[in-house]
């Protein structure tokens, strides 16, 4: 062999050697030098995580009765991995069996919200015969299973719906916000009420099933299962019995008002809506929050039909989804006189012995009739003191306080704002701490508010005129009229603070959190009370007791026959005028006077005097709490000119 050939063979040898060396080097780099990163990719490649939704916690009343729970529904699920002709055949058979259109089932099967590795529920609450048929004909229904499915359920229907709220499916925006909290597509989330407010306890933590899959997504193995942590039960301070009583009484009162005729315009009261609040003044616990009109939260489970949703949000139906107890804003009318009385006493303007001669008319300025006011119904009470003024609800007495305080305000005396200061002390103009979504703050008007409110007025003259805090503003406020707005819960809480001897407590709805085992996980103690001024409590109390017990008391008629000797009560009527509408009827009472255990408040829109509609509602609720025989609510023409 000549040397030329040898040299050339060697060249080939060198080239081949280089190729093999390159392969070895690359192999080392991939498998040894950068091992970890590829192992991770491979892991992510083959593992699919199927979330297991945690059962949602229940919502219980104060005695452990369920307000919201999970019902086991018989559902039919279809395996997503069913494909092609087999799937078509199965879907067609199911459609016939369930009486559902094929398209509906197909749509659910293609629903992106369900993990492709989880069976898709195509029908819930399936009749037992259908389930039996499916399980007896498994060969015709491959991939079809009958499974128990947890469905949110509200066993009491409409009762306490405004407090409990409802659930819905998590939206895409919320999902991206809450992804770290363990939410997945298609998850249930609280949409209002306690369901929304206490979501963090109710939701629980989802479990996960880790599956090994191949490139086509076929499951080839089961790696592990982490069981979900069920949501915790939330126990509220609501007492289902009292709640039911409050709601029944409210709807009875509304029905009765609609039957009655308004003296002012000789028409039936419209009484479109109302609220009843029952709270415990000793610790601020809310026992009942009734709101009318209401809704059935069961209608929201599994998605609410559009027409139904539209109906619930229609003005003509008076927005049943709004909880009027916490989000309804009302002029308090004469119920606000408690604040005015305390402001008058607190500022030193009046004493329990101050007497005013009520001739039926109040004139702030003899030369300026703009600020003159008369008593409702033109009543004249003669010389009266504070306690009497409360009992008979003399407007003139309180107009005087409002007017005189305005003068102090004009002089720059800080006591001139006593009305607003006391109102804020008693929790008006701020949320109550109940924590329900959508709670309104209300409004206590003052000079600064008026300026701010008219800041955007484009007409300089009108702006200048409307930005002034006039005597009339303070005079109206003194009787709960004008620009003041309160929620029923705020009003009840203010009376609770007075009943408790000057202790304003946060409204308490959440009693405790229970683990699924029933163990108490956390107790929510009553909030720290804030002391509020209660000057001359006895004088005011006498006046408020007179409202129900004195023959001239504004609610005496409504409480005729009530055993006040056994269960002494104190209360106050309110009749708020609303521009262009019939009067709002308010009544608030607490008892027993010696050691108050409850404050009951009723507000009914367009239902006349406080004594006409609301006082009978409150009476009936108190009768229920005191385990007396319940009286029938009848709205009659007022005997006294009680406002």
């Amino acid at each position: 062999m000549n040397t030329g050939v040898r040299v050339r063979i060697s060249i080939v040898g060198v080239v081949v050697f280089a190729l093999f060396a390159a392969l070895f080097a690359r192999l080392w780099f991939l498998q040894v030098a950068s091992r970890g990163s590829y192992a991770e990719v491979a892991q992510a490649n083959r593992v699919r995580i199927v979330p297991i939704a945690p059962p949602r916690g229940r919502i219980l009343d104060v005695r452990g009765r369920p307000l919201a729970e999970n019902r086991v529904a018989r559902a039919i699920t279809v395996d997503r991995r069913l494909k092609g002709a087999r799937r078509r055949a199965v879907v067609n058979r199911l459609a016939v069996l369930l009486g559902t259109p094929v398209a509906t089932i197909e749509k659910r099967l293609d629903d992106k919200r369900v993990s492709p590795y989880a069976p898709v529920p195509v029908a819930t609450d399936v009749p037992i015969e259908v389930l039996t048929y499916v399980s007896e004909h498994q060969e015709d229904f491959p991939g079809v299973r009958a499974v128990p499915l947890a469905v949110r359920s509200y066993p009491n229907g409409r009762v306490a719906a405004n407090v409990v709220g409802y659930v819905g499916e998590i939206g895409p925006d919320e999902l991206s916000e809450r992804k770290d909290e363990g939410y997945a597509l298609g998850d249930t989330i609280g949409r209002s009420g306690a369901e929304q407010a206490f979501e963090e306890y109710l939701h629980g933590r989802p479990g996960a099933e880790r599956l090994e899959v191949d490139a086509r997504g076929e499951v080839v193995g089961h790696l592990s299962t982490v069981a979900p942590r069920p949501g915790q039960d939330v126990q509220l301070t609501i007492d289902l019995d009292v709640q039911r009583l409050a709601e029944q009484s409210l709807s009875q009162g509304i029905a009765a008002a609609r039957d009655a005729v308004d003296d002012d315009d000789d028409r039936h009261f419209k009484a479109p809506a109302g609220a009843v609040v029952v709270i415990d003044p000793t610790d601020g616990s809310v026992r009942a929050l009734a709101s009318n009109p209401g809704f059935d939260p069961n209608g929201f489970v599994g998605g609410i039909p559009t027409d139904k949703w539209r109906w619930l949000n229609d003005r003509d139906n008076h927005y049943p989804l709004i909880d009027r107890a916490t989000a309804g804003l009302y002029a308090p009318g004469s119920t606000f006189k408690l604040v005015t009385a305390i402001a008058g006493l607190q500022s030193g303007l009046i004493t329990p012995y101050t007497t005013i001669d009520d001739e039926g008319v109040y004139r702030f300025d003899r030369d300026d009739p703009r600020w003159s006011r008369t008593n409702a119904g033109g009543a004249r009470y003669g010389p009266i003191s504070l306690s009497r003024a409360l009992t008979v609800s003399s407007d003139v007495f309180f107009y005087n306080i409002g007017g005189d305080l305005w003068r102090w305000h004009r002089r720059g005396d800080p006591n001139g704002d006593a009305l607003q200061a006391v109102a804020r002390d008693y929790g008006f103009g701020a949320t109550t701490g109940i924590g329900l979504p959508g709670e309104a703050e209300g409004r206590i008007p003052d000079a600064a508010w008026k300026v701010a409110f008219n800041a955007d007025n484009p007409d300089p003259r009108s702006k200048a005129e409307n930005s002034v805090w006039y005597p009339g503003d303070n005079i109206s406020l003194a009787v709960g009229q004008g620009d003041v707005l309160v929620t029923p819960l705020q009003l009840a809480r203010a009376y609770a603070a007075f009943a408790a001897g000057g202790q304003l407590r946060p409204a308490r709805l959440l009693d405790r959190i229970l683990d699924p085992s029933g163990e108490v996980a956390r107790t929510f103690a009553p909030g720290k009370p804030r002391p509020v001024p209660v000057p001359e409590r006895d004088t005011i109390l006498t006046g408020l007791q007179g409202v129900v017990s004195d023959p001239k008391g504004t609610a005496a008629g409504a409480f005729a026959g009530f055993p006040l000797d056994r269960v002494p009560l104190a209360g106050k009527t309110g009749t708020a005028e609303v521009q262009g509408k019939q009067d709002t009827s308010l009544f608030v009472a607490f008892g027993p006077v010696g050691a108050p255990r409850y404050v009951v408040l009723s507000v009914v829109e367009e239902a006349g005097f406080g004594a006409q509609t609301s006082a009978p509602i409150v009476r009936r609720v108190i009768e229920g709490i005191e385990k007396m025989e319940l009286s029938e609510i009848a709205v009659s023409a007022p005997t006294a000119a009680g406002n």
């Binding site: 062999m1 040898g13 081949v16 093999f20 192999l27 498998q31 083959r46 090994e212 191949d214 080839v220």
Partner: protein, 390 residues
């Protein structure tokens, strides 16, 4: 050597006729390491084939040994062919090279006629009775080696232009036929054999440059004229743009690299390749079978396989160096080129250092014709090696 020698009259060491013949007996000079390495690779190949396809076949309800049985049959056939090739003196093959070349070229023409059958756009198979097929292009590798070596073995010194053109015609015709199928991988292998044989035969540098330019022009023309399928161009582009987001195109490559990387030093263990058994890697029993080796046996296993191939190539190179005539040198060189290119391209593409082309890993990838052809070529090398003293 421990053979006893007798002292001749002139003081020269002479072998007795009988002894000399016995010493030169071909069977004594069979390169055992080459044969053993070849058989070990085949055995390992069968094992990996089983490990890579078992789960998939079981899930599909097919006999998990389906591929292994068929490949085993091919290995047995390959052994028979190897022995047949060894028995005939290679000098007969050398003298009758046009017959061998012509006989193997015929099926290559037939396969692109309507008789051939298409699989995934490539018309590379001829159906045989009994559910078997064979791939003429694979078998032609043997024809290419014998043909080129036979044609060139008579010349001395550097190759003149006439010889180069003759060799080009011999190699070009089958390459064109294979490209027509189109089977880019095999065409590449044939081209590499041609190049290596020509180099060792003594091609002039300027001829080589001209050939190179022609090859380049040819490639450009092929691409420009759209003779390649889109997927083939895409694969090449994917190779150039590794790590880009075009998941569809780089998918094969990413999955293959992930599988091999996932193996680490010692591998995930036989039958425990989530990447390869889960069929994330496509073609994991044919072109991408090395990913199964990499994932399941790790660096230890894949380096062993690579070493076995290196042994085969090294022993073949030794056979080329020691061959008694130019035919032997060139034929062995062709086999060296065949092994080196197929191993480098196949394993290289799974590791992302070569573009993805359909090319089997000799003796490991599933495919009967390739196995038989490889055994035939190894047989040819053993044949040349063991007859170097006769």
């Amino acid at each position: 050597m421990a053979t006893s020698l007798t002292q001749g009259p002139a003081g020269r060491v002479e072998l007795s006729d009988r002894r000399a013949r016995r010493l030169a007996m071909p069977l004594r000079h069979v390169d055992l390491s080459l044969v053993v390495a070849t058989l070990t690779i085949s055995g390992l190949g069968l094992l990996m084939l089983y490990s890579a396809t078992r789960d998939r076949l079981e899930r599909a309800g097919i006999d998990p040994f389906y591929f292994v049985k068929r490949q085993g049959l091919a290995v047995a056939a390959g052994l028979v062919v190897m022995v047949l090739v060894m028995v005939v003196d290679y000098r007969k093959l050398r003298d009758f090279w046009p017959v061998v070349y012509g006989a193997l070229l015929v099926p290559l023409v037939i396969v692109i006629s309507p008789v051939g059958s298409q699989v995934r756009g490539t018309q590379a198979w001829i159906q045989l009775p009994g559910g078997f097929q064979f791939q003429p292009s694979e078998l032609f590798k043997f024809g290419m080696v014998v043909g080129l070596a036979g044609y060139l073995h008579r010349h001395r010194g550097e190759l003149d232009a006439r010889r180069v053109i003759g060799a080009l015609a011999l190699a070009g015709a089958p390459i064109a036929l294979v490209m027509k199928q189109p089977d880019l991988g095999t065409a590449m292998t044939l081209g590499a054999i041609f190049l290596a044989v020509l180099t060792v035969a003594g091609v002039r540098v300027r001829h080589l440059v001209v050939l190179g330019l022609m090859a380049f022009t040819g490639v450009v023309l092929v691409v420009q004229m759209g003779m390649l399928e889109t997927y083939q161009v895409d694969r090449f582009t994917a190779f150039l743009n590794q790590g880009s987001d075009t998941r569809d195109v780089t998918y094969n490559l990413d999955q293959a690299k992930t599988a091999i990387g996932n193996g680490g030093l010692t591998g995930r263990g036989l039958f425990h390749g989530p990447q390869t058994n889960g069929a994330f890697v496509p073609e994991n029993h044919t072109d991408f079978i090395f990913t199964a080796v990499g994932e399941q046996l790790g660096f230890a296993g894949s380096a062993t396989l690579l070493t076995l191939f290196a042994v085969v190539v090294w022993r073949t190179w030794i056979a080329a160096r020691d061959a008694p005539d130019l035919f032997g040198v060139l034929a062995c060189t062709g086999v060296v080129a065949m092994f080196a290119v197929q191993v480098f391209e196949n394993i290289g593409m799974t590791m992302g250092i070569m573009p993805v082309t359909g090319i089997p890993l000799p003796l490991v990838s599933y495919g009967g014709t390739s196995v038989v052809a490889t055994f035939a070529l190894v047989g040819l090398v053993v044949n040349i090696q063991m007859r170097r003293y006769t």
